[in-house]
């Protein structure tokens, strides 16, 4: 009897531990949720009064109430479009080469380990590469082109890794069917494999775009100007971007500029978070459909 009671107590104690754990885990999840919402609400409370059409269409100014984010937004759009133009062909091409064509040799292994290494390099170091290689050696200066090339190298590993995952998810039978009909590997890729892998690749690209829009450190390294009172004229023009403009306003002591920063943050968050949401929705739909393709 005594030992049975002991076992009972032990079981109760075990259940208690389990409950405590579940409460703690829920709290941890809630905590991250609360932080996310606090961050968004804080930006809205500070910045919403400043957010109006004039703010979106004005140039930066020494007077905080007159300053706006027009050149920063235009600069962000230009840099992001250019970055994707460079990064997508390079990234998707590299991914296809590694998944489909690469022979098993030391060069392929070197490419693989380069990509793994690049994935872990801090973004600011890409900025140093951009400063040294594009701005100085190639004499592109502190231009849109330098910024876009730098960011393209930065996001390249992300594009490659996500594209390879999407390619690998395509059923092998599709390959075999196409090749059995006498297609070359490129024909199979172009007409069968890439269309099937496309939504997955697109998800990766959307995340890449979101990353490029939010990136500030490498662009600061290459000296993207923080005071730009004009719109970029061509790819060799100096520029600024939204995150850099926000950084510039946050680092000033005046409260009025902080409100500007918050208003800029609302715009930036609206863009990056909706891109993130889009990629999540896309991926969830893919995951649901995955079994059917088998």
């Amino acid at each position: 009897m005594k030992s049975a009671l002991g076992t009972d107590m032990l079981l109760v104690w075990k259940r208690q531990k389990e409950k405590v754990f579940l409460v703690l885990a829920t709290l941890a999840l809630l905590f991250s949720l609360v932080v996310l919402f606090t961050l968004i609400i804080d930006a809205f409370l500070d910045g919403l009064p400043r957010l109006n059409l004039k703010f979106l269409t004005s140039f930066p100014s020494r007077k905080p109430e007159e300053a706006g984010i027009l050149p920063a937004m235009v600069g962000s759009i230009y840099v992001t479009v250019l970055t994707t133009l460079f990064a997508i062909p390079l990234g998707v091409g590299s991914a296809v080469y590694l998944e489909v064509y690469a022979p098993k040799n030391r060069l392929s292994a070197a490419i693989e380990s380069s990509i793994a290494t690049l994935g872990g390099v801090p973004s600011i170091i890409y900025g140093m590469l951009g400063l040294e290689l594009f701005a100085r050696v190639l004499q592109l200066g502190r231009s849109l082109l330098t910024g876009a090339l730098t960011l393209a190298l930065l996001v390249l590993p992300i594009v490659i890794v996500s594209t390879r995952e999407s390619l690998r998810a395509v059923p092998q039978s599709l390959w075999e069917a196409a090749l059995a009909l006498g297609a070359t590997r490129w024909q199979a890729l172009k007409d069968q494999i890439l269309p099937v892998a496309f939504p997955g690749i697109l998800t990766g690209i959307i995340l890449t775009v979101s990353r490029a829009i939010g990136e500030a450190a490498p662009l600061i390294m290459i000296g993207a100007l923080t005071y730009v009172a004009f719109l970029p004229r061509g790819v060799l023009s100096p520029f600024t971007t939204l995150p850099i403009q926000i950084f510039n306003w946050v680092s000033r002591p005046q409260k009025a500029f902080h409100a500007n920063a918050a208003a800029g943050i609302i715009v930036l968050l609206a863009i990056t978070l909706s891109l993130n949401a889009l990629s999540i929705v896309l991926r969830n739909r893919l995951e649901k459909r995955a079994p059917r393709t088998l």
Binding site: P122, M128, W186, V250
Partner: protein, 301 residues
């Protein structure tokens, strides 16, 4: 007949063209890696011709822009260690709790709701985190700790912990998810509760994967720039006090490049020397994490 041959020849040509083109594309990754390593070592070499390695590693002051120049990297390392240490202290326990919950307890529905929210946290631009740390978290903490300075290591450290939390939780969850079901069932057969299976079987079995997630998160935190540049200050101090302004390696690089530093000067070379140290840290941390994850995969596949 001739027509077929023509089509075939064209297809073959296309195939060869594409293969060569994509091969050249994939070389970009190698050249980028070589470019980064080459540039860091080259400019650092120029730096170390003017400044000795020994004081660089042992001097306790970092004042490269003052009249009396000191080039001791220890204060910058200290600033980086302090902010990232706090970040990992925040992210590790929260990340493990969430990972165990998502991998062992959550229904697929709960998981499908929770994981995207965590991913959104990872998608917030770092300048936004900087703003949040400087203008929300620091004033909030000041109410509890009145001696907290406006710029400090504590607040960006905590916010950075939240920033890297999704990395820890999702990689740890992957590792736990990969633990074979048979191990869990063996545990249940011996009369273990779900909690015991989670903490005494799954967690130890996934330990190398979990450790890898910590190391990757640490490496990410070390390289983080905007958050610490905005909220941690720009005062290189050899201190472990999280309440005072510090300067991290990344913040130094960013701050120097904000001013227009002419190439070839010692100031210019200084950022590359610091960049080299930063690169070496993240490189080896990533290497260790990769090895750990590889070993983990080998055991369970």
């Amino acid at each position: 007949m001739k027509e077929t041959q023509r089509v075939l020849r064209r297809a073959k040509k296309e195939e060869a063209f594409v293969r060569h083109l994509f091969f050249v594309f994939s070389l970009v990754a190698i050249f980028t890696t070589l470019g980064i390593i080459g540039m860091l070592f080259f400019e650092s070499f120029l730096f170390f011709r003017k400044v000795n390695v020994l004081p660089f590693l042992t001097d306790t002051q970092w004042t490269p822009l003052f009249y009396e120049q000191h080039f001791g990297i220890l204060p910058l390392l200290c600033g980086t260690l302090l902010t990232t240490g706090i970040a990992v202290l925040v992210a590790a326990p929260l990340g493990i709790l969430i990972a165990i919950f998502l991998s062992e307890y959550a229904t697929p529905r709960t998981r499908n709701i929770c994981k995207p929210i965590l991913e959104v946290l990872a998608g917030v631009p770092t300048v936004v985190y900087g703003y949040f740390a400087l203008l929300f978290v620091t004033p909030l903490l000041k109410r509890v700790i009145p001696s907290l300075a406006g710029f400090n290591a504590l607040s960006p450290g905590i916010v950075m912990g939240i920033m890297i939390l999704p990395l820890v939780s999702s990689l740890s969850e992957d590792a736990m998810h990969a633990v074979p079901q048979s191990l869990r069932e063996a545990g249940y057969a011996l009369g273990s509760t779900k909690f015991e299976v989670a903490t005494k079987i799954v967690f130890p079995a996934a330990f190398s994967g979990v450790t890898a997630s910590f190391i990757l998160a640490l490496s990410r935190a070390i390289g983080e720039t905007m958050l610490v540049t905005i909220a941690a200050g720009s005062m290189p101090q050899l201190t472990l006090n999280p309440l005072v302004p510090v300067m991290t390696m990344t913040a130094f690089i960013a701050t120097v490049s904000l001013g227009d530093v002419p190439a070839g000067t010692l100031e210019y070379q200084t950022i590359f020397a610091v960049g080299l140290v930063l690169f070496l840290f993240t490189f080896f941390l990533n290497l260790i994490a990769r090895r750990l994850r590889q070993r983990f995969r080998e055991v369970y596949q």
